[in-house]
Symmetry: C2
Subunit: 354 residues, 2 copies
């Protein structure tokens, strides 16, 4: 198969972890006879530094012309504590999501038996957790207008807005995923307070009869924030709006103890995007110590979701499991064993594939 | 001292837990020679059933004419799955907060050594946790206008809005609390996305020099949702807007393993309100099994925050600790020991005080 892949390493440890995913993807391409072309683009703080724009048009053209995007991480502390900064790295991310039409962020949370003891939760709570969030990614308060300040600057406002169509297309993805899994869908909202949430709940209630095999539960976002820690095994597929999804998927990401390994996919258009859920971790940048497995597993999701190549996807997750079993891992999960460098882990995985 | 206390039992287990707090408050009044007058009002689903209004004017008059309000819980499942219901119990709660001017919700999270093993988190993570949220309670998306639907009903919108003054008065409470505690203040926002959050961050940055002994940290809401579980001991005082506060205080409430015991206070006006953080728990209503200790500890906070009576407050928390030590507790925390009835626990506490 011909595959055009855009690489957006981004900031911090982004370039290092993307480099390992590239080794793995190349090895898979070689083994299965795929022709893979990579094109690299700038995004985030590094793009601001180079061009003044966190998502330059040149980068968008590369992405829009590709089949899939492999994304590292963005963000730089120098922008975080300056609320008056006019241009911020995150704007690049948001513009990218919107311009590419990536309206669904898929974030699985599952456990690796060899890492589950690293969870902050007790073993019985977390053992065997297997849930997936479908977070709406191009609507809500992230993009709603009007937003800003009054003239005197003494008042600020944001608008949360959702149309029925936006909810329907995201919810259908959730229903379909639930049908292939344990057939439980949880609609997360704040319908006791927010008008947008009431439209979410109403719309999901209208769709439910089309998926008679799926049990639908409606839960308030505050209740989910609790139950996710109390008993995460209660969940299968969760659907929610952009902001709630931002908060809850991050909360969920720590429960398995394997945050550095968690992949994600952003879907919705011809071009699909894949990225680890961890951040740009600036303190570790350039030290060859970052854990590349979240990015490598994102590449695995890419073969599956973007190209329908389940065998290739499986091979990647198999070699990741092998690296865990044999202790070929970075210092964050080495635990007394040898701490391997980021680049060593990538080399080892690629060699195992070939 | 003369004390006028409004009692709003509300729905579900509300009446049962309030009844125990009343026993305790009466006993304290008797012991210390305070003249306490109680007036009871309807709020929530029971108020809708009786009057069609979840916060009737008569109830507001009772509250506005009191020094403090003791509140149980509201909410009834019959309203939850009907997104089209015109009147909902929660509206009563929101209207009450706004009309009484209760702009700050104070939610401590701390541990009881005898209960900490019930936490879903591992002992080393949760042992000794002691943090307190100051959640803004009368602004943000809960009250912002415009909100609603477009004409065809196919689009819904909410407005999040904050003025500088609203942020200042809440933030000052947080700074002052931090000064009396471990001197760490965390401002929780989403300043990388939301205009309101940028005003929060900016305003807190402006206030910070007035409190040179307080260390201020700024953290995004998604990061806090993670760190609260990973290492809750990192936090001391957290300040945040209404919706983030709703989600995060509920998340925080489960980490100590003592959710049924957690009290809260809502401050901001002459009248102050005190309530347990748990909900109306309709499944348990009328069974005399609900844990009254969260409400009793809310009454303890009332003596302290509303009347400046620290000795009375301390006596109540001391007898609560005694009830835990001697196993005079309800079934949710009885653990093999005898499960006492809600009313028995209240009687026992009152008797110990006298
Ligand atoms: C960086 C930030 C704008 C972004 C978001 O809030 O969507 C991030 O937290 C994420 O979840 O990808
Ligand atoms: C019942 C609901 C409207 C309320 C809120 O969201 O404020 C509740 O969750 C709370 O935290 O007191």
């Amino acid at each position: 198969m011909e595959m055009n892949i855009a690489l957006l390493p981004g900031d911090g440890i982004g370039p290092e972890v993307i480099a390992q995913a590239v080794k793995v993807v190349k090895a898979v391409g070689q083994k299965f006879g795929h022709t893979i072309t990579f094109k690299e683009g700038l995004v985030g703080a590094c793009a601001i530094d180079a061009t003044g724009d966190p998502y330059p048009d040149a980068t968008h053209e590369i992405c829009a012309g590709s089949d899939a995007v492999l994304f590292g991480a963005i963000g730089d502390p120098k922008y975080d504590n300056d609320p008056k900064a006019k241009v911020r790295p995150e704007q690049g991310l948001l513009r990218m999501r919107q311009k590419l039409g990536l309206f669904a962020n898929v974030r699985p949370t599952f456990t690796f038996p060899s890492l589950v003891h690293k969870s902050p939760l007790k073993l019985d709570r977390v053992d065997g957790v297997d849930l997936v969030f479908f977070r709406e990614l191009t609507g809500g308060v992230y993009f709603g207008e009007p937003r800003g300040r009054n003239e005197q600057g003494t008042k600020a406002f944001d608008t949360n807005v959702y149309s029925k169509e936006e909810i329907v297309r995201l919810a259908r993805m959730g229903f379909e995923a639930a049908q292939k899994r344990r057939k439980l869908l949880t609609c997360v909202d704040k319908a006791n307070v927010m008008a947008t949430s009431r439209l979410w709940r109403e719309t999901v209630q209208e769709l439910a009869p089309e998926y008679p095999d799926v049990k639908v539960e409606y839960e308030f976002v505050d209740a989910v924030a609790m139950r996710l820690i109390q008993w995460p095994k209660a969940y299968d597929v969760l659907i929610t709006e952009n902001l709630f999804g931002d908060i809850l998927t991050d909360e969920a990401s720590v429960i398995s103890g394997s945050m550095g390994l968690m992949p994600s996919a952003s879907l919705g258009s011809k071009v699909k995007l894949f990225e680890p859920i961890h951040g740009s971790y600036p303190q570790a940048a350039g030290k060859d110590i970052a854990n590349p497995l979240g990015t490598v597993l994102s590449a695995s999701m890419m073969f599956d979701y973007a190209f329908g190549l389940a065998e290739e996807a499986k091979l990647i997750s198999d070699v990741v499991n092998l690296s865990l079993a044999e202790g070929v891992v970075t210092e964050d999960i080495a635990e007394g064993g040898k701490a391997h460098k980021t680049s060593e882990v990538g080399d080892w995985l690629a060699a195992k594939i070939l």
